[in-house]
């Protein structure tokens, strides 16, 4: 066996300061890599008991239909909703944002925990995937690199939802007190600012050695160190 079901990146037993990454499908290692760079305890979560003491949960990018079916099949929807009710913060990136939305264009909502309307795969095919850069004043002073991969667009947000990043005709990031949604992938860039921001939301201070927004040591294949064959 070359992969381990519940690899914890730090052997720290204080799980109450941990952020879980939903480990069903998609960009799991990429988020764990970023959390580790910030000195935050990250864990892979896929069983009910894994969610018990998390301060925060990241729902990663992947395919939202696949993730929604798996959440349904294994009863994890209710687990996440219950933990959310008792204070766990949630961040959805790309597919994760779709799962959290109350309204999904041409589709049923999945968790429906934040009042936004989102359209899946809103830019076209992979040939329309792109990168950009923008300033998100509430998150960091420096520009943040943005990676959009077959990304959704947030079309509308309800009241009490704060827009963190407005692009041309769509919203790319938004939040309320308990949930953060981004349609782009900070975990696919060297940018740690969003992970640091979410950790603060969860009441966790990062302790890593990187002070700015971007970790210059990050490389696009950095995730592979968590997925070695040997």
């Amino acid at each position: 066996m070359v992969k381990f079901k519940n690899m914890s990146l730090h052997l720290v037993k204080d799980t109450s300061a941990a952020i879980g990454v939903l480990d069903l499908q998609g960009g799991v290692y990429e988020h764990l890599d970023h959390l580790e760079r910030l000195g935050i305890t990250g864990s892979r979560v896929k069983e009910e008991s894994d969610f018990a003491d998390l301060s925060g949960l990241i729902i990663p990018g992947g395919e939202s239909t696949c993730l929604a079916r798996l959440l349904d099949n294994f009863g994890l929807k209710e687990v996440i909703k219950n933990r959310y009710q008792s204070g766990m913060k949630i961040w959805g990136t790309c597919a994760g944002a779709i799962l959290l939305a109350k309204k999904v264009v041409n589709d049923e909502p999945c968790l429906g925990l934040i009042d936004i309307e989102i359209e899946r795969n809103s830019f076209g095919s992979q040939l329309d995937s792109f990168t950009a850069e923008a300033i998100m004043p509430k998150v960091a002073a420096e520009p943040i690199p943005l990676t959009f991969i077959r990304a959704p667009k947030i079309l509308r947000v309800g009241k009490n939802i704060e827009i963190l990043l407005q692009m041309d005709d769509y919203i790319a990031a938004a939040e309320n007190e308990n949930i953060l949604v981004t349609v782009f992938h900070p975990e696919l860039t060297g940018c740690l600012a969003l992970h640091r921001y979410f950790a603060q939301k969860c009441g966790i201070n990062s302790t890593g050695s990187v002070s700015g927004s971007v970790d210059s040591r990050w490389q696009s294949h950095s995730w592979t160190r968590l997925a070695r064959i040997v």
């Binding site: 066996m1 070359v2 992969k3 381990f4 079901k5 480990d23 069903l24 499908q25 998609g26 960009g27 799991v28 290692y29 990429e30 896929k46 990018g61 992947g62 395919e63 239909t65 696949c66 929604a68 079916r69 798996l70 099949n73 294994f74 790309c94 597919a95 899946r120 795969n121 076209g124 095919s125 992979q126 040939l127 995937s129 792109f130 990168t131 990676t147 991969i149 077959r150 992938h185 696919l188 696009s220 294949h221 995730w223 592979t224 160190r225 997925a227 070695r228 064959i229 040997v230």
Partner: protein, 293 residues
């Protein structure tokens, strides 16, 4: 090659990790696959089991049929071009699908050259039986690798062989002193710079899926436990007696590959799997994995 574009293409494959990509031949099947939780569909006119049965030259599918499937689903759509047939690839790029599979399942168009994938914006996945073949394809610009298990047989033995071979060669590379890499790369046909990269990373630098012969939830979990990042299912779903049920079961077993209880649940009451073929019974000239090099 546009390196930023190439990075985005590798990253799309990263987002497919832990997922199942299913062969579909029409809109109805594509919808069943999406509904079951496939992370992408491979649009083609005939599944490999039928290509094998029918014989003759197998070519790129009718673009009109691929376009219909693209319209019907919101998950990524892949399609196959013949090995070396760069014009079929140009057509698929113009059609704006999401990924091209330069595939041995179709009859090769060129026995010397694979497609120069660096000339394209669209990403490519290519098959490989061993580390050298994987790295040669990556050097040509492939953004994703898959095993080259014997397609259309429902027999996982070749995919297992390819994954074990690749893992063994990666292990050898990681353990050898750097001065031995040159000779190892020469003997096994590895591009040297990429060999050094694999030695550093302890795995391929891109996502590596299992493909060829996967017919059951247990097959999928087996390939995942051998270290694959995800699964392609070709004939295994729609040549079985209950495709929707089997598709869902393979998705579940892939996500929970390390949890025998969940793989057990997924394996129950699925009806007949696709009929299997013993590799030794296939005439050598009809084996697909030997196409390309």
């Amino acid at each position: 090659m546009d390196t930023k574009r190439h990075e985005l293409n590798i990253q799309l494959a990263q987002m497919l990790k832990g997922g199942v990509i299913m062969d579909v031949t029409n809109v109805e099947q594509a919808k069943i696959a999406e509904e079951a939780g496939a992370v992408a569909v491979m649009a083609l006119e005939r599944v490999p089991a039928d290509i094998r049965k029918d014989g003759g030259v197998a070519r790129m599918s009718d673009p009109a049929m691929i376009a219909d499937i693209k319209k019907a689903v919101s998950i990524p759509v892949m399609a196959k071009a013949r090995i070396g047939h760069f014009v079929e690839a140009q057509i698929l790029e113009a059609l704006k699908i999401d990924y091209i599979d330069e595939s041995e399942v179709l009859t090769p168009a060129d026995e010397e050259c694979h497609i120069d994938k660096t000339k394209f914006k669209i990403p490519f996945v290519c098959g490989a039986r061993n580390l050298g073949e994987a790295l040669r394809r990556i050097a040509e610009g492939a953004a994703m690798i898959r095993t080259k298990g014997e397609a259309g047989t429902g027999n996982v033995v070749e995919a297992v062989r390819h994954m074990r071979t690749m893992n063994r060669e990666i292990r050898q590379l990681v353990e050898m002193p750097t001065e031995e890499v040159t000779g190892f790369a020469k003997t096994n046909g590895l591009p040297y710079e990429l060999a050094l990269k694999v030695k550093e990373l302890g795995r391929l630098p891109v996502v590596n899926f299992a493909a060829g012969g996967i017919a059951t939830p247990a097959d999928a979990a087996l390939m995942m436990q051998l270290g694959c990042d995800g699964i392609f299912v070709g004939s295994g779903v729609f040549k079985s007696s209950d495709p929707a049920l089997r598709a869902k079961a393979i998705v579940k077993a892939t996500a929970y590959f390390n949890d025998p209880k969940k793989v057990l649940e997924a394996s129950m009451g699925l009806g007949e799997a696709m009929p299997g073929l013993e590799i030794a019974q296939i005439p050598p000239d009809q084996l697909l994995a030997g196409r390309g090099w």
